[in-house]
Amino acid sequence: MMPAGLTGSKRTGAGLTLGPLLFHWPVEKRRDFYARIADEAPVDCVHLGEVICSKRAPFFEREIPAIAERLKKAGKQVVLSTLALVTTEREIAEVRAACDAGYLVEVNDVSCLRVLGGRPHVVGPLMNVFNEGALSYMVRGGAVRVVPPPEVSAAGIATLARAAQGMDKGAMDQSVEIEAFAFGRQVLSIAMRCYHARSRGLTKDTCQFACEADPDGLPLATIADEPFGVVNGISVLSHGYVAAFAQMAPLAAAGVARFRLSPQDCDMVAVAKLARSVLDGAREPTSALAELRPLIGAVPVVDGYLRGVSGRETIPA
């Protein structure tokens, strides 16, 4: 846990990343979303590419070059995220193609490391880099940026960030950057089964893209009506959004270089502006949180993992 005295406003030089869109949005909606991000969102880096399901990829693939171009013109770094679960030959081919597409790639499955063979890359939060031993191995293998998995507490992220600064320079002749997940639903599980398909009595092969109906995930509740999480294809995500405003300044002070905002079906430009203003020391974390609540409707804000307790624990309203 962070000492309370460290959570006040303080200007940091940390960057903001817009993570990969984890949901299956229609092409039009995605196009509009990224156009607005390019023009208006104060983020330094934007991830494109499909992470959850290879069946979704063809819908948006051909849009990626034009959107990447627009983002680059707006001064943003573009990273291509890759699949979280790779099992078929077609998925392996997709990972290979992503690695050769000319972008910095985000690894979300070990197979991608094998394809990259030491080329510079980002290690995403679906990889299990929990400790300095794994981190050091990744850096030696070409990682230039590592996002710890959702289970790692703020204290653990700070430990990794401090360890990163002591490590040899990585593939891009700079210390590896640690990026902390700071906004959105956390991925809690990955499976071979598609639960969106199963919810409709279908299978992954016959899914009819059931996931498209839920742009922010399909809510699950217990039989006692307690929120459990949301289904998104083969993944289950947290029922609440993380909003790590309070941890940003102390984590930046520990050496965290970037904070990740994961796209949800809400005004992400406004979310990015709030996060930026907290990083700039222009807003107190508590007032940023108060301003966030009307933007996210009834979705609760969770921060349990950051505090080292059950992930579903919420920040009191």
Partner: protein, 329 residues
């Protein structure tokens, strides 16, 4: 005992370990009594002295011992995992079962002579990942995730270049191993970081509207009518409300039993069969290991396989071929 497939059996306690050996295990897997192994439950596992005795017991009878060190160390806390690897080497374990890249790196560089198996917790789900672990950490065997159809197992085994171990019996989750934190989301403890999914300390029961509810971390996972057998509240076996209707959205509470497809696993080129259940009693272990020993011996000698009667001890009282069955996903 005639070798057909190597039978790898659980040794959750010193007593269960001996039961596995006595019932015909070729190999027993077990762990140290701490967070370094994925069955870190109270009353289980081995201190160093017990481990030395167990290894001695197995080796005297020509059996092998694998030590599972297959959780993911938290940042800044790698000491116990390094110590566990060092101790496994000095105690004479036949192999260690590892998942974390930092621990694999340590074991491969400090103890190159100690055989390394890739834990199912590493979730290696394709040839490239298996190649990565083989080339970088010199693994000799990989335990395959419980997510493949039989034909997919065969396709991987034919190409993977290291021995394949697959699950034959016991509990199984539907999520890719090592990539599920639902348990810690609900109750603060996970297989990856704590070596425990839905540990008993987080489970409670409550009576409501004439039904018994079973809760994990205070969250209702299921309810049962009086007399109905209650399943364990593992998050991926929860009965949840989906669009207003209760359903087993992830999986039904049932256990894996691959007894009927042993020849096909052998044909697929699998080296070793794993019986899950380090948290199980000595009696359970004895019954399951004897059943599989008899089947493997019969197959090795070309005799008919004796029927297995394990439904009574299978999770949820229901057995299944799990993902081996076409159409499971």
């Amino acid at each position: 005992m005639t070798k057909y497939l190597e039978l790898v059996c659980p040794g959750g306690t010193p007593a269960a370990f001996r039961a596995s050996v006595d019932a015909g295990a070729d190999t027993v897997y077990c762990g140290f009594r701490d967070v370094t192994n994925a069955r870190n439950y109270p009353g289980l596992n081995f201190d160093r002295e017990e481990m030395a005795e167990a290894i001695d017991y197995a080796h005297q009878r020509g059996r092998h011992v694998l030590i599972a060190i297959n959780t993911f160390p938290r940042a800044g806390e790698m000491g116990p995992w390094r110590q566990a690897v060092d101790d496994a080497a000095s105690l004479g374990a036949d192999a260690v079962i590892l998942a974390d890249i930092g621990v694999l790196d340590y074991a491969a560089s400090r103890h190159p002579e100690l055989r390394r198996h890739l834990s199912v917790q590493a979730g290696a789900s394709n040839m490239l990942s298996l190649d990565f672990y083989r080339e970088n950490f010199g693994i000799s065997r990989a335990v395959l995730p419980r997510m493949f159809e039989l034909r997919e197992v065969a396709s991987l085994v034919a190409r993977m270049g290291v021995e394949a171990e697959t699950f034959a019996f016991g509990s199984f989750g539907t999520m890719t191993e090592g990539r599920c934190i639902l348990s810690s989301y609900l109750c603060g403890k996970s297989p990856s970081s704590d070596g425990a999914c839905a540990p008993a300390e987080c489970v409670t029961y409550a009576e409501r509207d004439g039904e018994e509810r079973v809760l994990l971390g205070g969250m209702t996972m299921n309810s049962f009518a009086p007399g109905e057998p209650a399943s364990y509240p593992t998050p991926c076996k929860a009965r949840l409300m989906v669009r207003g209707e209760p359903m087993y959205i992830f999986d039904e509470p049932e256990g894996l039993n691959a007894h009927d497809i042993l020849p096909r696993l052998k044909e697929a080129g699998v080296t070793a069969l794993k019986i899950e259940g380090r948290q199980r009693s000595r009696a359970y272990v004895t019954q399951v290991v004897r059943t599989f020993r008899a089947a493997l011996d019969a197959l090795a000698e070309g005799r008919p396989v004796p029927p297995a009667d394990l439904v009574g001890i299978t999770e949820g009282g229901k057995e299944s071929l799990g993902a081996y069955r076409k159409g499971w996903r």
